[in-house]
Symmetry: C2
Subunit: 623 residues, 2 copies
């Protein structure tokens, strides 16, 4: 059987489990139509992809595949950015042909292929003269992590196109690593998880069970102290406790969610319910105790890690864009596995408030970290320099560690796949965006300006004559939602009947501003509230305040109500003034209120800092 | 003139400005008597010094001075720990002769001297075969920083003993570096300030103006981007803005206070009031906006740096012990320069709540960082391993970066010098501890069990017959203090009269528990209060709570009053219970109170974690 015979399914979906409650749809089955997400996908295609390729070239990371070892540029994981870019391009080409982009894709793939060693090894940072030996630094070397992204790119290509040179390169690399790290090989794992979900996906594409077995082996090894200890402790790369034994996600946030995604993939393909249950338990605890209001995860700058339970300071919230992407990857796998709408709730929250926050309007600048409280005005990062990953308070064109732009690009390029699923009973709509869905003999048009309003019209275009079920997610915050005028509860609204072309189902999520309070155990935001509207978190920005008023002077008057404005949410605030004391602690004092009833317009957090340097806060102290 | 002719003053004081409002006393002029600080000085002498020398030997850092370059152990700055240890030993020998310790001192000095190059260069990490060249990494290499500590050790020796081999080594090193970094030399500075105050002190010891000029040159160069940019930005090593132009301390906290201390030294010796005023302004702003209730500074783990104004999260407060030591160095210099009791207030707070917190009761384990909120139980660090600097939640015997133990040791060994000063009008007592003071024709006994009580008896033992002024600092929190029964206000209480031997002056600082609230701009502790008693900050520790109650369940009932107990402060708390929600944000909820009126004993923060693993919080949410 040739590769193409196996992978000729062209499923077109980022994740394609062979079992599970829900079946994913491919990019040929769902198409975004103009709206919030479509615009971002267009900007991604029109601007971000070229921007990324320009920087990969300019920073020398692409050139590493053909240059001498002594001339190598970038960090040890820079190869992965080329692979993530190739994955983005593969998904993009999978729904929108583009001969020029196709040609650029082939040129890069040829460069990568030329760098591959005869035994399948490919990495520009190890193993060549003057470099450290292969696999000599599993803790930090990222070699298997890079393979993971190479394989994910190849999976994207295989599922949207079929086998080609990239797929062949990835399969050779996978065969090599399975030989080297197999049951009789190096008994360890990579310091950064990613190879695990990639190998399961390659198994799904090729049917080669070796890849699944290797992924399962990696999952079972980790947590048994197979890596050396490091300053941050082994929890940093989740080598402290076996996946099955852990009760919550911990350590480096991106590593944690990538690993959990791989564990779900292994559990689903091997039928290991104990492993799946363990990840579900960890996910629930993490959402309940270690997740920002935005869906962002990872509060620490030092090690890009989760803090302890309820340690979610808005100041310098790390909330890395890539951790948001990884959280979507994990929640999507769990959603496919067991169908709980809570997973789609978190995906929605994370997409609107982390992933959408990262890129600038024009898709050429990005946030790496996503703080929830910016106290001082930032300065515009230079357009022509690498910016340290987390130093910027404004979006930057590129970073010395530039994982986020390519992660955003691959997510946006394949975003349509997260809108809907199917099962034997019918079709489930998880995310609300204007879109066309065609699955089997069902075709739908989803018409909505969500999240501007909460009105979603599902128009039946084609339908079998027998009854089937249209399932609509009702987000957890939508406590006054209706379907065709009848109240529905948060969760899943199931409409089962005979549908005919032209029928419509109208979901109204009653999107309006609301005031949200934190769990009392989140010390950092005690006495504060946040304003949300639908899935969107709002914030106060200094550019919207009267002259001389800072965001830190605002005290929200929760009794005054919230006003739904065309450009934001109107609130009423007291303005406080504080003079420095020689010592800032003493007998209790009340704050001086210099004005009250001051109207302030809050704006979507995902737009913050798009009008130049600004101070900002999401959590507002209550008056 | 020989060195010994110049330095035979044997002043015995850690800092000895040639000008200033107050004159420091030397270790031959002030002797601690049994009490809070005397006990710590005894433990330092009996246990800590030997503990430190054992670890310096065991970790190989001492051996670096005689071993081959290829066998070098430790971080690039490990030489400095040997020098800080020598400084501690010098102060210790300066008030308490000890032939065995004296012999160990000479043995180490001989090792250092043997490693010095003919041109005066001495550093075990650079310049030898197989190592990077001298001064090839000013940003991170710490060569001048190490010289600084070498010089400080030599200054301690010169002022307590006179010239010896260590003093000669330090002078050769200073002459070398002044030649290399002088007006026509390398136009840069060290990434870690420390050489600046050291050179001024060496000038004060030797009278060699070259050292002062070099220190002034380093101060004037820094802030002009003479170092390369780094990921943390140039503010990390204060190379962002000239010292004279900055409005507040920023960047790496230890670097910031060491640099400011050097700037004060330069300003005082050169009569540069503009520079002095700049540091005073920065100090005031830093105290008002960037200092923890404990006096600790530096809130960030990632870069051991100050946060923005009012970013003082108790969670993972970094509050490095060394930054506390450096803050005392800075405040002491400012106190000598202008006499404001506010400097002594901060010194007291920092000594009781940061420096005293670091070592264990027996002086063989240390905190590197000093968090104000410990949420999870720690595990006892291994007795025989290096511990990463900040990973421990319990005191550890030694760290891979082990700057704090030697900094505590040198501070405790010379602590008596911070008790009192003199000027033309009389004697000033700044810190309250049982002690004997003999300066000129005045001799005093200070009798007190402070901080157990606030009663301080100053007994005149010798006095001239003419009137003079006894000045007693009244701490800013002592709003009900009396002197001989008459109320006095916080600040300086001046008693001017003819004193006769046998006279007493009784200061009563009315030490009793009090409730302290934060500046409303410190978001991280909104709605919380801390209990203080005299200069001591108190905390709740899980080992003092009823079974099953965590520190995070406590809500302080501020209406119930505070009880002064023999072993702590009694408060009344509500105990709350919280169940996880699937999503921890939503409509406002009240907390479930499962018990109220529960008596809880708070204990001094400096003792926390001395009874095994414990969770702890300083700031208690108000009921």
């Amino acid at each position: 059987m040739t590769i193409n015979e196996v992978i000729d399914q062209r499923l077109g979906a980022p994740v394609a489990p062979s079992h599970g409650t829900l079946r994913p749809l491919g990019l040929h089955e769902v198409t975004l139509r103009p709206g919030f997400w479509h615009r971002r996908q267009e900007v991604n295609r029109d601007n971000s992809l070229a921007h990324i390729e320009r920087w990969l070239t300019r920073a020398g990371w692409l050139g590493n595949f053909s240059s001498a070892p002594s001339e190598r540029q970038g960090r040890e994981f820079s190869d992965s950015e080329i692979y993530k870019y190739l994955e983005a391009v593969a998904w993009q080409l999978g729904h929108t042909p583009d001969p020029d982009l196709e040609a650029r894709y082939h040129a890069i793939v040829a460069q990568v292929a030329a760098a591959q060693q005869p035994d399948g090894y490919v990495n520009t940072n190890f193993g060549r003269p003057g470099q450290e030996p292969r696999y000599s630094d599993l803790e930090w070397g990222h070699e298997l992590y890079c393979y993971g992204h190479l394989i994910q790119a190849a999976v994207a290509r295989a599922r949207t196109h079929g086998a080609d040179q990239l797929v062949e390169v990835a399969i050779r690399a996978a065969d090599h690593l399975c030989a080297v790290f197999g049951p009789d090989g190096i008994p360890s794992v990579c310091g950064h998880a990613e190879i695990e979900p990639a190998l399961v996906e390659l198994y799904r594409v090729t049917g080669n069970r070796t890849y699944l077995d290797q992924a399962a082996l990696f999952i079972s090894r980790r947590g048994n102290q197979v890596l050396s200890d490091i300053e941050f402790g082994r929890a940093y790369f989740q080598d402290d406790i076996p996946v099955e034994s852990a009760s919550i996600l911990r350590g480096h946030a991106v590593r944690a969610v990538y690993l959990a995604a791989g564990a779900v993939d292994v559990a689903v393909e091997t039928g290991d319910d104990t492993l799946l249950d363990a990840v579900v338990r960890q996910w629930r605890a993490t959402v309940a105790r270690r997740t920002y209001i935005t869906g962002g995860i990872g509060s620490r700058h030092q090690d890009e890690a989760f803090g302890e339970d309820f340690v979610l300071p808005p100041d310098r919230a790390y909330s890395e864009t890539c951790a948001g992407v990884g959280s979507v990857m994990l929640a999507w796998r769990l959603l496919l596995a067991d169908g709980d709408p809570a997973y789609a709730d978190l995906i929605e929250r994370t997409l609107f408030n982390v992933v959408a926050t990262s890129p600038s309007d024009d898709g050429t600048r990005f946030f790496y970290t996503n703080t929830l409280h910016q106290r001082v005005l930032g300065t515009e990062p230079p357009a022509d320099q690498l910016v340290p990953r987390a130093a910027s308070t404004l979006r930057a064109p590129w970073f010395s560690v530039s994982c986020c732009p390519t992660n955003v690009a691959r997510t946006f390029a394949g975003l349509a796949a997260y809108i809907a699923t199917s099962d034997d009973s019918g079709v489930q709509i998880h995310q609300y965006a204007a879109a066309s869905v065609k699955v089997g003999d069902v075709a739908l048009e989803i018409e909505t300006d969500y999240p501007v309003s909460g009105r979603v019209v599902v128009r039946i275009v084609e339908s079998p004559s027998s009854p089937w079920t249209l399932t609509l997610r009702v987000p957890h915050w939508a406590t006054e939602a209706t379907v065709d005028g009848s109240p529905v509860s948060p969760g899943a609204a199931r409409i089962r009947r005979r549908f005919a072309p032209g029928d419509t189902v109208v979901l109204d999520l009653a999107v309006r501003p609301r005031l949200t309070a934190p769990d009392a155990r989140i010390d950092a935001v005690r006495g504060c509230a946040v304003i949300e509207r639908g899935p969107v978190v709002y914030c106060a920005e200094s550019v919207d305040l009267p002259p001389g008023v800072t965001v830190d002077a605002l005290r929200l008057d929760a009794t005054a109500g919230l006003t739904d404005l065309s450009d934001g949410v109107g609130v009423s605030c007291h303005i406080t003034a504080s003079a420095d004391s020689p010592w800032p602690y003493g007998a209790a004092r009340s704050e001086a209120v210099v004005a009250d009833g001051v109207p302030v317009t809050l704006r979507p957090y995902h737009d913050w800092a798009s009008r130049g340097p600004s101070t900002m806060r999401v959590w507002l102290p209550l008056a």
